[in-house]
Amino acid sequence: MLANLTALGWTFMLLSCGGVTFLTYWCFKKVLSTPHDEPDLPGGLGP
């Protein structure tokens, strides 16, 4: 049952942790770099 971190374990760990870290970084970068008052985007759905 107990084993060193395998290549697949590394893959899942790095993808999961890296993915959420990148998403958090991207979101905060976008939040902090955009002026507060912006004109509305057109209503309705995205591209």
């Binding site: 971190l5 374990g9 942790c17 959420v20 998403l23 979101c27 939040v31 507060h36 995205g46």
Partner: protein, 552 residues
């Protein structure tokens, strides 16, 4: 609804951190790693991220948009806002659950918060008195006895009958915790909740990353078990794909995402109601969710179980991963006893847990406070007094009926778990079907800094409701009837008695009945206030059934 000035957030970052603070709680650090380790390790992340994509993020966006829209129509509570989105009284009374959930969870959550504060204090004072050279079985026994003493697990009223102290130290921690909560909620959104979260969230991140670095750089083997950091990480992250064939794994992943993000909890809808039409909700919602995920996957997924395997081994770690409280309060104290500098890291860890808990508990009082103000027309002093009294009565009942944690467990199961699923289902159906998907998305896109991708049109309308239905049915199937073995015979407890499902417990277990009595009295109180509020709102000419467009 009252003559006092309307509350609002101080900054956009503030509301994001407040929502993220509400979401980041004990479950991120303690429940997630146990859940992942038990359900396929790395492979668990596949259903976990699918649930994030198909449930957590879309329902979160819907809730943010619903809250902001309701705020523009003069409502800040779930009954008022859901009455608008569901176009009538049924939605308004279902919205009562959106106040019941945070208030009911507060009844017991603030006690857990007090445990964190008390353990933090103990580690500042040197630890909880474990001897690291003693046999692991002795340490297991000691940590369990200590936890039972802190929680008053042995008998009803045990915390009030401590012969060694004038006042049980946990009650002092409880008093401080309650005063802190009430004070910050009284100070309001900007000066209270937002101010706490703006400091607490970065502090938690810094402390968490510090502990993470310490854990990942432990010497090998650091403990007496002969196991390394790589073993600890392997225990949690090595994938077991066979688990993906088990429906319970998918249910556990959906449950983890769902309850971690605080969607359907009645908090986001309240917080978003204080935003203006031009305030972004799409990027804000995504940022709050992402922040929660960072705390859960990176800090929760790399620290606790890894350290536990290194210092106390797989067997003891596995005992702790069966429940949120076991890992945090029974297993990790043994880890800190073994770890060099354990008192410091123990204090830091329980400070993180306390901050995570208080940023969540603050969010639990605010919806009730807002509800009382707008339904009864009282000012913030009266509403704070009322919510304080209501909360204290609930806290006291859970404190007194402490034996086995059954009363708290009952409220947690029904209010803190089952009703959340119900509220989320109502919200996503109201957004996608009653209010109208295109209209709902148009509302969400006012002031949006990013667009919701078109694929979410299908996800919000069809996938999320269907996924949620499967989760609700699966949850009920697994928990409500009496459990049976594969051959149809009843599952037995260790003492030979028959193990009961949650439905049977209502009719046979006195403590479960006390828990239900607390729930029912609270529901009756909230329904009464809603009825009074609906009359007031109608008399004031408010559009409480959502028949008119919102003002800009």
């Amino acid at each position: 609804m009252t003559n006092q000035p309307a509350q609002q957030w101080g900054s956009r970052l503030g509301v994001i951190l407040a929502v993220a603070g509400s979401a980041v709680g004990l479950g991120n650090f303690l429940r997630f790693p146990g859940n992942a380790a038990e359900n396929g390790g790395g492979a668990f992340m596949i259903p976990y991220f699918l649930a994030l994509l198909f449930l957590g993020i879309p329902i979160g966006w819907a809730e943010w948009a619903m809250g902001r829209y309701g705020g523009r129509k003069g409502f800040h509570s779930a009954p008022g806002i859901m009455g608008i989105w569901c176009k009538g009284g049924a939605g308004r009374y279902l919205g009562v659950l959106g106040v019941l959930i945070p208030l009911g969870v507060y009844f017991y959550y603030v006690l857990i918060e007090s445990w964190c504060l008390y353990y933090f204090w103990e580690y500042l004072s040197g630890g909880i008195g474990l001897d690291p050279s003693s046999a692991i079985e002795v340490q297991v026994k000691q940590t369990r006895e200590h936890f039972a003493w802190v929680t008053g697990d042995s008998a009803h009223g045990a915390l009030f009958a401590d012969k060694d102290h004038v006042v049980h130290p946990m009650l002092v921690a409880f008093g401080l915790t309650v005063v802190g909560n009430i004070w910050f909620v009284y100070r309001g959104l900007s000066k209270g909740i937002e101010a706490v979260c703006k400091y607490a969230m970065p502090v938690m991140a810094v402390l968490g990353i510090t502990i993470l670095i310490r854990v990942l750089t432990l010497d090998a083997p650091a403990g007496t078990t002969g196991q390394t950091v790589s073993d600890g990480l392997g225990y949690l992250w090595n994938p077991n794909f066979e688990k993906l064939g088990d429906f319970k794994t998918w249910l556990a992943a959906a449950g983890q995402i769902f309850f971690s993000l605080s969607v359907g909890f009645g908090v986001i809808i309240n917080y978003a109601s204080y935003m203006k039409k031009k305030d972004d909700v799409v990027l804000s919602g995504l940022t709050a969710s992402a922040t929660n995920e960072f705390f859960e996957v990176v800090l929760g997924g790399l620290i606790t179980v890894t350290a536990s395997v290194v210092f106390v081994g797989v067997a003891v770690t596995a005992m702790g991963t069966g429940g949120t409280m076991s890992l945090g309060f029974k297993t990790l104290p043994m880890v800190f006893a073994q770890m060099p500098g354990g008192a410091f890291f123990g204090a830091a860890f329980f400070l993180i847990l306390f901050l995570a808990a208080i940023t969540s508990s603050l969010s639990m009082l605010q919806p009730t406070k807002a509800f009382l103000e707008e339904a009864l027309g009282v000012d913030k002093r009266v509403s704070t007094l009322m919510v304080t009294a209501w909360g204290l009565i609930g806290n006291f009942l859970v404190l007194w009926f402490s034996k086995g944690g059954t009363v708290a467990g009952t409220i947690d199961f029904w209010v803190g778990t089952f009703f959340i699923l119900v509220v989320a289902a109502v919200q996503i159906i109201a957004f996608g079907w009653i209010f109208g998907l295109e209209r709902g998305l148009e509302e969400a896109h006012h002031g949006a800094q990013i667009r919701i991708p078109r694929v979410f049109q299908i996800i919000i309308k069809y996938v999320a409701p269907a996924y949620l239905l499967v989760v609700i049915v699966g949850f009920c199937w697994n928990n409500l009837p009496d459990p049976k073995n594969a051959d149809g015979t009843p599952v037995l407890n260790a003492d030979g008695s028959r193990k009961l499902g949650e439905l049977s417990k209502i009719f046979t277990n006195g403590d479960v009945q006390i828990g239900w009595a607390i729930i029912l009295v609270t529901i009756i109180g909230l329904v009464t206030v809603t009825t009074i509020g609906a009359k007031r709102w109608r008399a004031q000419g408010l559009d409480l059934d959502g028949q008119l467009p919102a003002k800009d």
